[in-house]
Amino acid sequence: MVQRSKKPKKRIVVSRPLSPRKPRRIGKIQNHAIARRSNKSGSINWYAWGYQAGLRDAKVKSIENSAYQKKALNEFWLQAYRQAPFSKSDWNAYNQASSGYVLGYFNGAGIHPQPWVMLPTLKSVAVVVTAMNEEDTIGEVLSQLHRLPFDEIVVVVNGSGDSTFQKARGKSHAIIVHYPDALGHDVGRAVGAKLTNSEILLFLDGDFVVKAEDLISFIGKVDQGTDIALNDLTPYMGTFQTWDSVSMLKYFLNKVQQRGDLSVNSLTAVPHAISRKAYNIIGPSCLAVPPKAHAIAISKGLVVRTAASINVLSANKIKEHNRGQMNEVADLIVGDHVEAVKHLMKGSKDRLNFPDVMRLREWAK
């Protein structure tokens, strides 16, 4: 997290409190001063900055006549965000500022406040949610997604024996794709992705509720140039001896592509966001085999980085009800990784970038 320096920048004069005798300076400088003054300890209060900006905008900009009010407010927000005095990679500051802005706007416009969360980009954003039997969580998942002004929401319900579809339909105006048979959740993602046109694609599973604020960095990173924005699971991994086979395969696949820095992070886990460019290069049939998509992304030189760190591992542990099924899924994912490695070896590169320059094998025959 970026720590704002307590020393003011040279071009901003904040040493004296603003007094009525001196003319008020408008714009960035004034906002900064207000942000600083509102917090006695001296550290910057981005929420206050955002609130003031929202309050001001409410006087001059209206969302009343807009068909998609959330999106209209997002556009106003983005204009204010351009002037933001914090780093564009500080998502903590972003979340504070944008939530301040939203409340400031509603208060300023005299509208009952909604828990909207603003996107950090003008680009179109789609979200694909895959769900099987998630009647307990799908409602909450969609509630969180409704806080953001997405251009497209696609829910792929497959092989569902419970009321997931009904819950989703009753809750949302999203595009809902329903298959009576299970597709395999990775296929669901690819099927959903095929239905989107947006520039940024975000993927979630219907069994884990992610707060809207936590999704911002994934979208923001892709907006800023990352092609594949991953969830960083490394803080939740124990020492190697505790790892399961899937984690080992994920790390191995990254290592053999010289991306050991990614550790166990890969497209296998949600949430993740990808650019349209990445989607076009990978293609939906490869997207259905996430490790293969991950390997292709790295091998084609796409920008692959981690965004936020959301603990989805605990959700998997809860689903221990069917041990046998877990093992089958593990085998499936291990097989996916083998498929990914084999794909990289196309053209008889059986050692990838690790040639055997040391051995004189002919002598062994």
Partner: protein
Amino acid sequence: MARLQEWELNNLIPTSKRNRSKLRSNSQKFIRNSNAPKLSVVIPVSNERKTILRVLKEVSQLHPQMEVIVVANGSQDGTRELALRAGARVISYEHCLGHDVGRSIGANYAKGDIILFTDGDIVLPASSYLPLIRAVSSGVDVALNSYSGVVNKVDVHSVVLAKYTLNNILGRSDLKGASMTTIPHALSSRALKVIGPSNLSVPPKAHAMAIHSGLKVETSGFINVGSLNPIRRKRFVKMKDPLENLILGDHLEAIYWLTEQTNERANLTDFTRKRQMLR
């Protein structure tokens, strides 16, 4: 490169003026090679004069009917001469043949029912090898050292990761990080025939071959070779370990071989995924 290969028994060594004085005394010969050995010990060496005699002394006690085969390649510090003097069957090569190639060469000449592989720079007491030998004589085809590497950290070494990964792919996660890459390990003569001596030059591939062809592969004893490995301690403390990349590549070669024998997923299930939905 002039290839030099010969069975060198003590009384047939061509003695140059330089060697004569060293080879005069026969009291240093403590290895008795049998002509019909039950146990063959294969030790590839390059320059290990500091440890080779101790290794040979331990190994020579393992079985009354045994042979010790030392494959000396690129030996310039007298290791070869020491092995000769001790009575081992020495196969010499002037130049270094590379990691593990010596195993293939030694295995080619081994006549025993049990073939034990170890290195010339790690001194282990004779008792360490016994569990491996007993396992093979009671039916195990490939008896492995269960030492799996240092695993109580997050950023584990690539080689440890690769060994665990390969075992997982082969459906033998029970073996953890045990592998034919690690010494010591022992093979039955049947295993040697099935795998083929030349494949021992790429140990992870031999490991995959052994498991895939249905041989009985088990761990039989824990021999902590990590702390004993002088190579890692001495030379590569600050340098990047070049062997790391070689071994990683070896494991990839093993995976390539496996997928050629089975399918691109090493025969792992795909049944729940309906790929046809994405045509």
